[in-house]
């Protein structure tokens, strides 16, 4: 009788050995060294508008034939988007002065930066079934990358560039008046 139980325990032990080998296989063996890719560049962009946006991120990992139970996550993230005009794109041909009157033609506005601030990223809710593992940060960042992509894609619909251009016109008009010009016309290059 003891021998029979011994065999059963041995089978169970072998099974556990197999599983533990599987666990040991997933352990990474290497870490990256210090990476240094540093570059300093010139810029000449005048940002004239800042949009502060927010996005609720919802994702559901529903059951399938090889997965039991579901997982749900709810996060929130914010971003600051800045746009303006490139002052390096203003050439001599864009400036016409005649006595106390001036006409300045500015290049069209462009996106300067999109910044999803770390402090604006928050996990609001997470639930999972007994058989499921929690969301990893790799997965959470996959969702955040999708949200970032969607924010980028929605910029043309926000009216960001139009607002940046109208603010740039107002800014340069007030600047040129302070410089002593009485008749000021600032327009955007088509």
């Amino acid at each position: 009788m003891n021998i029979k139980y011994f065999f059963s325990i041995r089978i169970l032990g072998l099974a556990l050995l197999g599983v533990s080998l599987l666990f040991s296989c997933q352990r990474p063996s290497d870490k990256p060294g210090a990476i240094t890719v540093r570059q300093l560049q010139d810029m000449s962009e005048m940002a004239t508008v800042e949009f502060v946006v927010s996005r609720i991120i919802r994702a559901s990992d529903t059951p399938s034939w090889y997965k039991y139970g579901d997982r749900k996550i709810l996060m929130s993230a914010g971003a600051t988007i800045k746009a303006g005009i490139d002052m390096g794109g203003i050439t001599d041909n864009d400036i016409n002065t005649q006595g106390s009157s001036i006409t300045l033609t500015l290049p069209p506005a462009s996106l300067i930066s999109l910044n999803m601030h770390p402090e604006s990223i928050q996990q609001e809710y997470e639930s999972r079934g007994f058989f499921r593992s929690p969301f990893t940060n790799e997965e959470r960042y996959r969702f955040l990358r999708q949200a970032e992509e969607e924010i980028r894609e929605s910029i043309p619909e926000m009216g960001l560039l139009e607002t940046a251009e109208s603010h740039a016109v107002l800014f340069f008009e007030s600047w040129l008046r302070l410089m002593g010009y009485e008749q000021v016309e600032v327009r955007i290059r088509k």
Binding site: K4, S44, A47, V49, Y68, M87, S113, N137, E139, M179
Partner: protein, 230 residues
Amino acid sequence: MWKFTKTTASLIIALLVLAFVLIFYFNKKFSSQSRELRIDSSIILVQEINKIAQLFTARYYDEIAIDTFKLQDKKTMTRVWEGLVSPNPLRGRRPEEQFRRVDLVVVARGTILAGYDFSLLEPHHMIIEDKSITLVLPPPQILDVIINPSDYDIFIEEGTWSLEEAVGLKQKAAGIMQQRAIDRGILQHSEQSAIMVLQNFLLGLGFEQVKIETWDEDEMEHLKLSPSLE
């Protein structure tokens, strides 16, 4: 003639336990490696629209690998296995036997933008005398430190790490990058670049002499309390 003995029953139980363990393990392991999950569609809410006047004159790109670690309770399976291979009744009392070290290693790419906040300018910072102009600028500053989710790769994630912990590591990376940008002279570079941009612009407006100067810190403090030119 086949007989249902205790040995057969033990074998069936052992196989069932094995099947359960394997299903549990594979379900957990592959639940995060399955098809690409997509986020549900949701509106992007514009919360604020601010009028700003920031002249960006220098950009610094950087990429760093940064890591952190913590001690976590050993998994049940690990404890069971260690109990099988080393059935010592005193085992598990020491901290190194109860906990395991888990690492989080990330690679972050960042952009640091420096320049001038023109909303701090007042009319008296622009001195015009006939065909000469003197523009007195506030000191250059770091205007943005950008590490977006697309710039952030989780390289190693052992154990369980919360989003706050991953975000905390990102903030640490941002701080290192900002300091490295300052050490590499981003502010000096920004000042030189601004002088060139503004000189070109003001010469183009018809001024023959253009002088760009920078405030001292006392004036900066004073001007923060004053109404802006913007």
